[in-house]
């Protein structure tokens, strides 16, 4: 009896082992993807990486304040701050970018590096990226009675950490401790701040409403000055390789340094309409 039992057990083990293949994930640490729709979320950079050799092109606009009403077409007549930004991924982790913002004609160069990514199995609960760079104000200051600022005096720098987590398929949050430094923050620059060094803590939120659109939130409390805090609320629509972002925001600033030093209007009347078009260009195998 015993022997038969053992034999049966052996057979059963064999049968059950070979009944079906065990389902195994190719990468058990599969990263959580699309925490945000694009490498930009309203004005802030996100942890969203680019694939190696792909390019992200963002055209960003912010218009005048809404308080002019229909007479000024809710700020659209008051001229826009426009930023063109190109970002190119040298690897899946590192990208370099250049942007040009019409406010003070600032050219910025910066890099973004993805330190690690949130994983689906929860081994890594959040994604961490860093970004930093510098820029130069290229406005013409020949009209000033005093000497126009030189290249060094026109420069400004920024650095930030980006910690993000997709809490559920619908909700993603990013916390962005950020800082900026202006070598010589002159009154003639279009910033409200007068100090050299600025610190802020950016909060970005995404609440997915449909498969391809989300409510977007942005709040950047200042940590070392009395400027008003930046607040933005918007709507992101993803359409293939494009992400359209429409929003109301308290500042016309589009680059990191000006976001921290530029000052903000009040929420509501002094909201400005903003509109970003993000396009990802892929290279590599197409078909």
């Amino acid at each position: 009896m015993k022997v038969i039992f053992i034999c049966l057990a052996l057979l059963l083990v064999q049968v059950s082992v070979f009944a079906q293949l065990e389902r195994k994930l190719a990468n058990p640490n599969q990263p959580v993807e699309l925490i945000f729709h694009a490498p930009r979320h309203i004005n802030l950079l996100t942890v969203e990486p680019l694939d190696k050799k792909s390019m992200h092109f963002a055209i960003m606009h912010t218009f005048g304040t809404l308080d002019g009403g229909i007479q000024n077409l809710f700020g659209l007549d008051n001229g826009a701050n426009i930023q063109f930004s190109f970002e190119f991924a040298l690897s899946d982790r590192l990208s370099v970018a250049a942007s040009r913002s019409s406010k003070d004609k600032v050219y910025n160069v910066f890099g973004r590096y993805h330190v690690f990514q949130q994983t689906q199995n929860g081994n890594m609960p959040f994604s961490l990226s860093v970004a930093g760079g510098g820029g130069v104000n290229t406005s013409n200051y020949d009209f000033l009675p005093e000497a126009a600022p030189n290249f060094g005096e026109r420069s400004s720098y920024f650095g930030q950490l980006m910690l993000a987590r997709k809490f559920s398929p619908r909700i993603s949050v990013q916390i962005t401790p950020m800082m900026a430094y202006f070598t010589d923050p002159r009154r003639v620059y279009q910033i409200e701040g007068t100090q050299n060094f600025y610190m802020g803590l950016g909060f970005s939120g995404k609440i997915k409403v449909t498969d391809r659109s989300s409510l977007a939130l942005q709040w950047i409390p200042n940590l070392n000055n009395d400027l008003r805090n930046n607040f933005g609320i918007g709507w992101d629509v993803e359409a293939g390789g494009h992400v359209f972002q429409m929003y109301f925001v308290t500042s016309q600033a589009l680059n990191e340094q000006y976001l921290l030093a530029g000052g903000n209007g009040t929420i509501g009347d002094e909201f400005r309409l903003g509109f970003n078009v993000n396009r990802i260009f892929a290279t590599g195998r197409r078909k």
Binding site: L10, E33, L34, A282
Partner: protein
């Protein structure tokens, strides 16, 4: 008693000799839309053919499907296949007729069984060919079509890449005898 145990071992060993396995099979999902064709491919098809028990079992990790554009892959995983919830596409079934695998002779086989993707399981039939090669391996070629709506996979709208409702699935794999 020992003989009996030995006997059982022999039987199971014989059964094993009729099993063929792969972890590197090729799968291609071809989408032929009016304006743009594209495909998603994976080289990580896992498969088992057991001629003795007449059993087939295949699966792929859909995260390994590559359409050639990283962002499109991300959208595919996140919005359409929902791979975090449903990571695998799988097929288990039986062959008819049960092939008699002889070196160099091509066996036309129809497999019928359950195909599961995006959490939805349906009974399907797959036509394929099996050939035993000189190394004693089994070469499989099979093809079938699936309709995305059958599996509750939405078609992307308002996007710049078009996806066809019908996906033409091709499999190619060389399965090695189980040792």
């Amino acid at each position: 008693m020992m003989r009996l145990i030995l006997f059982f071992y022999l039987i199971t060993n014989v059964a094993q000799a009729q099993q063929f396995l792969t972890e590197t099979g090729y799968v291609n999902f071809l989408s032929k839309a009016p304006l743009s064709d594209f495909n998603g491919e994976s080289k990580q098809l896992h498969g088992l053919i057991d001629v003795e028990k007449n059993m087939l079992d295949f699966y792929i990790d859909l995260n390994t499907l590559d359409t050639g554009i990283g962002l499109r892959d991300k959208h595919m995983r996140d919005n359409y296949l929902e791979t975090e919830k449903f990571p695998f596409a799988e097929f288990s079934g039986k062959m008819s007729p049960v092939p008699n695998l002889v070196l160099g002779i091509s066996n036309k086989v129809t497999a019928s069984g359950k195909f599961k993707i995006h959490g939805i399981e349906r009974q399907i039939e797959v036509k394929g060919t099996l050939i035993k090669n000189t190394k004693g391996e089994v070469e499989l070629i099979a093809a079938f079509d699936i309709l995305l709506s059958d599996y509750d996979i939405p078609l992307p709208k308002l996007v710049f890449y078009e996806l066809a409702e019908k996906q033409e699935v091709t499999l190619k794999a060389t399965l090695k005898p189980k040792k």
